[in-house]
């Protein structure tokens, strides 16, 4: 495996969607390559950082409208 291949296989690797043979090749390359070890760490850090984004705020009008939908439904029956 060359570094260029590892970069394109990194998602399959972190997602655990790799055959055991490919995974072994990937791990073998990592053990010998600082650049790819850093690249994998960067991808994992990117995933972690993305997970720290706040939920998007929803506009008040939508909140009010959906509250009204709920109340109309809840008052039926």
């Amino acid at each position: 495996m060359e570094c260029k291949d590892l970069v394109e296989a990194v998602t399959a690797y972190v997602e655990g969607e790799m055959s055991p043979e490919d995974r072994a090749r990937f791990d073998h390359h990592l053990a010998l390559c600082d650049g790819c070890t850093h690249y994998l760490a960067q991808i994992r850090e990117t995933i972690r950082l993305t997970g720290t984004l706040d939920l998007e705020a929803i506009p008040n009008e939508q909140r009010t409208a959906l509250q009204a939908v709920f109340r109309a439904w809840a008052s039926e029956r």
Partner: protein, 214 residues
């Protein structure tokens, strides 16, 4: 392929709350899912206004259908399916649909990184790094944990083609499983992974550019 995840115990608790007309439980679900529902609807219909109507109809459909929810998928997957069905019908009525390639982006096969980062065929180690990726732990902690980087990541996601953006939001911002995302967005296993791969690669580059700009 793994079976679709069924409803979790949290889901089932939420379903019971909805059946019991618990407004706070409903609004919590709205806060979490509404922005994504509107964007998913927007993939099928031609305007933001119609997408918002679709999302509202979806919520009504959820409430009216909640007694029939059997927990054979996760609750959020079920909600997204309702949304996609309503949006598809509206889109067909509008008579114009956005091709998958436009939603997914035309760069799915493109390399994640510029060629120049790798050694050429005449160099000592072709296709190996010509300049090594940095060790991000060497950057100051404040830079990695600051709000400015969150803005940079948010902007990078906004700039992605719609389907790439939604996959990374659901997977990495909201923490859904790949099965849930595939079911909610009706994607194959490969498509989900390729879209996520492109999205993460581009967000990584935005983070890198930010970290190295100081």
């Amino acid at each position: 392929m793994a079976a679709a995840p069924t409803a979790s115990s949290d889901d089932l608790a939420l379903v019971l709350q909805l059946r019991a007309r618990d407004e706070a439980a409903f609004m919590m679900l709205v806060e979490r899912l509404q922005p994504s529902l509107i964007r998913v609807a927007r993939m099928y219909v031609q305007s933001q206004a119609v997408a918002e109507e679709v999302a509202q109809e979806t919520w009504l459909g959820v409430l009216q259908g909640i007694d029939r929810f059997e927990g054979r998928s996760s609750l959020r997957t079920w909600i997204f399916r309702i949304c996609a069905n309503i949006a598809k019908t509206r889109g067909q009525r509008e008579g114009r649909s956005t091709p998958f390639a436009t939603l997914a982006g035309d760069d799915l096969e493109a390399p994640s990184l510029p060629e120049s980062l790798f050694q050429g065929p005449d160099e000592a180690h072709p296709n190996h790094w010509s300049s090594l990726p940095a060790d991000w732990t060497s950057f100051p902690q404040e830079r990695l944990e600051g709000s400015e980087l969150r803005r940079v990541i948010g902007a990078a996601i906004e700039a992605l083609p719609p389907m790439q953006a939604e996959v990374i939001r659901l997977r990495d911002v909201l923490g859904w499983s790949s099965e849930e995302v595939r079911n909610a967005l009706n994607l194959s296993e490969t498509n989900q992974r390729v879209l996520l791969h492109r999205a993460r690669a581009k967000v990584r580059r935005a983070v890198e550019a930010y970290l190295e700009s100081a």
